[in-house]
């Protein structure tokens, strides 16, 4: 076991999968000689050459389409949106082509779309968004969003080996801030499985990616006040791990769903509806959603801080919910 950063985990997963399978290749903007805007692909161009680490023109739609075509011919392309915000340029290729090939004519489309996403990095309205919610309404896609190096590496490897198109949401804020132990040997993290990363009895916080760390911070504060918080890291957003969600809610009976996308229309509404449809009788209080404000992501650091969910928001909501 060695301790590495979240960014290293992504880099290592790419490196190992490329070494392991010659069908795996990378495409994206500045990912070659430059090593990627965030250096996720650093050194891979030198190691695997220009035919397996391909710098593309500034056309997300173009290289996504090229990746889909290559995947249909048996390759396993991993493409990088330089910022997740730019995925909207490739929207049609992803939702109309990649997501529907298998349904329409049985063709498998094993592409991975890596998307550095999320705020708290002072990137402004065009470089801080969380677009995962846009894709939750598109059957045919898989969506993962790890919160730590172990899951980041294991989920990326699982995504590359998966025969369906996978959107891999990697959080920019976590890249160099979060470190963790990762096994030396080959492993994957199964797509579709959530994980309880902190056990508790009084309430469950269901969350994923960077917000997991906000939840952990809140749980520490709450523990000091005698409130025991369970944290469920979703890890995969589609398909949702209903079993995992229901098990935790049945245990604590009170739920907060915490996510970084704007509150309206986010994954929180979907999870809340599932809980109330399937296990209503286990609820001992209202289901609470905590999301970002319903505005574009502000550029000003103070405004951005106001915009994003904070540990304090979770603590306040949790106390209210536990007292309910």
């Amino acid at each position: 076991m060695k301790e590495i950063t979240y960014l290293d985990a992504i880099h290592d997963a790419l490196d190992e999968e490329m070494a392991h399978n010659k069908d795996v290749f990378l495409m994206g903007e500045d990912i070659g000689n430059y090593g990627g805007a965030f250096k996720a692909t650093e050194g891979l161009y030198e190691k695997y050459g220009r035919w397996r680490v391909i710098d593309t023109p500034l056309s997300e739609s173009g290289f996504t389409g090229a990746a889909i075509g290559a995947s249909l011919m048996g390759m396993r392309p991993v493409i990088e949106m330089q910022f997740a915000d730019f995925i909207s340029c490739a929207f049609d290729q992803i939702v109309t082509v990649a997501a529907k090939n298998h349904y329409r004519w049985g063709g498998r489309t094993p592409i991975v779309v890596r998307t550095p996403f999320g705020g708290n990095v002072h990137g402004g309205a065009f470089h801080s968004q969380c677009p995962e919610g846009w894709f939750l309404n598109v059957p045919g896609l898989k969506i993962v969003a790890p919160s730590n190096p172990y899951d980041a590496k294991g989920l990326l490897k699982a995504s590359i080996r998966d025969d369906d198109p996978v959107l891999y949401f990697e959080h920019k804020f976590l890249y160099r801030r979060i470190k963790g132990e990762v096994p030396d040997e080959d492993y994957t993290v199964p797509i579709g499985k959530s994980k309880v990363i902190r056990e508790g009895n009084d309430l469950t916080v269901i969350t994923y990616s960077a917000m997991v760390h906000i939840a952990l911070e809140a749980a520490e504060i709450l523990e000091g006040e005698g409130i025991s918080t369970e944290i469920l890291d979703l890890r995969t957003l589609m398909p949702l791990d209903k079993e995992g969600i229901y098990a935790s809610v049945k245990k604590t009976n009170k739920v907060i769903i915490l996510y970084e996308t704007p509150k309206t229309g986010g994954i929180g509404g979907e999870i809340a509806a599932l809980i109330s449809e399937d296990i209503f009788d286990y609820l001992d209080g209202p289901i609470i959603r905590i999301g970002s404000k319903d505005t574009p992501v502000p550029y000003s650091p103070h405004m951005e801080e106001f915009y994003l969910p904070k540990a304090d928001d979770v603590v306040t909501a949790a106390k209210k919910l536990v007292a309910y």
Binding site: N253, Y282, L283, K320, Y324
Partner: protein, 410 residues
């Protein structure tokens, strides 16, 4: 194809069922209509047949679990001959049965009944399971709401009170669904209906002789064991026809007189009591009544009763005399207006024309709902039954015995 097996709806008002026993284990093959699982609801215990032939892939709720109607309790992988792996994974046959609107109505009524107070779904579920009256639980949540902790604290407290001396000297037998429903019904009945019991002594000598004379023939030609019960059912059905007010239900908008006579027969089971029903009892002859009552009792003991076997009775007969009881004061089964209890039939000295004779005597007791029925009506009804039984064979009840068995139209 993977097919979901759901907890079936076993009657209008049934909201949940308890799994008693899986008759097929995971991984085993099951044939269409083969019994898959034994379930118990507040109405009946029964076996659920498999909807298809296939492999029982997954048991989702194990024995002793109680789940709402409509819950998926198992998955069967249907064997169709040409199942490919992909189909098995991706095609799920939709289950068409869904919860009835009746349950929703019941729930709304319950909420209104609780006035201003609101309870979380979990609190209401626990209160239901443990039979707690939420009005007496103190709430510490926001605005005095009862939280999960308040309720589990209360339940623990009550349980401690109930078992002060520990498990060495006392034992708590968990309530089975049937026990719980009997308790609910009996309390409901005794609270709502002012009970009065009236008792007549009936001379069964004629019936006893008649029975003695015919039972072997009947057994031989019809395969039916002739007991006293069908005679009493027959007499009761005819008395109900003459006194329709006994065949009724109380409602706030008026007394509902039922034009059909469906007589429920109380059958005692090892762990409770169930009342299968003989439909249109007034249109059946003695042999039919004997056969039907025997069949239903057997089905009840074998736990093979279907929902329709226990629904829609309009009057009850309970035969505690079998166990030796002389007379009782039975509790009316809601929503009936009355119940007839049959005491033991014994030889007793009786005075007839100032001489002492030995006769087969029985006490018949009728408990009735005094909101609907007055004493005189009840006694008129009971004396009609008495007369029919004592004068059996003197009128149209005569059954000619022929070579081929029993004939005659009743």
């Amino acid at each position: 194809m993977s097919l979901k097996v759901i907890m079936p709806q076993m009657g209008e008002s049934v909201a949940e069922g308890t799994i008693l026993k899986w008759l097929v284990q995971e991984g085993e093959r099951v044939a269409k209509d083969q019994s898959l699982v034994e379930i118990s609801t507040d109405k009946i215990d029964t076996e659920v047949p498999s909807p298809v032939t296939g492999i029982l892939q997954k048991i989702l709720h194990s024995a002793d679990e109680t789940v709402p109607v409509g819950t998926v309790i198992a998955e069967i992988n249907e064997l169709t001959g040409e199942v490919t792996e992909e189909v098995a994974v991706e095609v799920k046959t939709p289950v068409t049965q869904s919860a009835r609107p009746a349950q929703v109505t019941a729930r709304i009524v319950e909420e209104e009944g609780e006035g201003e107070k609101r309870y979380s779904p979990l609190v209401r579920k626990l209160a239901r399971e443990y039979g707690v009256n939420l009005q007496v639980v103190k709430g510490t949540g926001a605005g005095g709401r009862i939280t999960k902790q308040d309720l589990s604290g209360y339940i623990e407290g009550v349980q401690k009170l109930k078992i002060p001396s520990g498990p060495e000297v006392e034992e708590v037998i968990p309530l089975t669904p049937i026990r719980r429903i009997i308790a609910e019904r009996m309390v409901q009945s005794i609270k709502a209906a002012p009970h009065v019991t009236t008792t007549f002594e009936v001379d069964m000598t004629v019936i006893a002789k008649y029975r003695e004379m015919n039972k072997d023939t009947m057994q031989k030609s019809q395969g039916v064991h002739l007991t006293y019960l069908p005679f009493i059912i027959m007499a009761t059905a005819s008395a109900l026809r003459e006194n329709p007010v006994l065949n009724s239900s109380w409602s706030d908008s008026g007394i509902i007189i039922k034009k059909y006579i469906n007589i429920g027969i109380a059958v005692s089971l090892e762990d409770g009591l169930i009342v299968p029903v003989i439909r249109k009892a007034d249109s059946m002859n003695l042999i039919e009544l004997a056969r039907e009552s025997q069949l239903l009792a057997q089905k009840a003991r074998d736990k093979r009763l279907k929902p329709e076997d226990v629904h829609d009775s309009t009057f009850t007969i309970t035969n505690y005399g079998i166990a030796g009881s002389l007379f009782g004061t039975p509790i009316i089964m809601p929503p009936h207006a009355a119940i007839l209890g049959i005491g033991a039939i014994n030889k007793r000295p009786v005075i007839i024309n100032d001489a002492i004779a030995i006769r087969q005597m029985a006490y018949l007791s009728l408990s009735f709902d005094h909101r609907i029925i007055d004493g005189a009506q009840a006694d008129r009804f009971l004396s009609k039954i008495k007369n029919t039984l004592e004068e059996w064979g003197s009128k149209s009840e005569k059954v000619p015995v022929t070579e081929s068995g029993f004939g005659g139209v009743w």
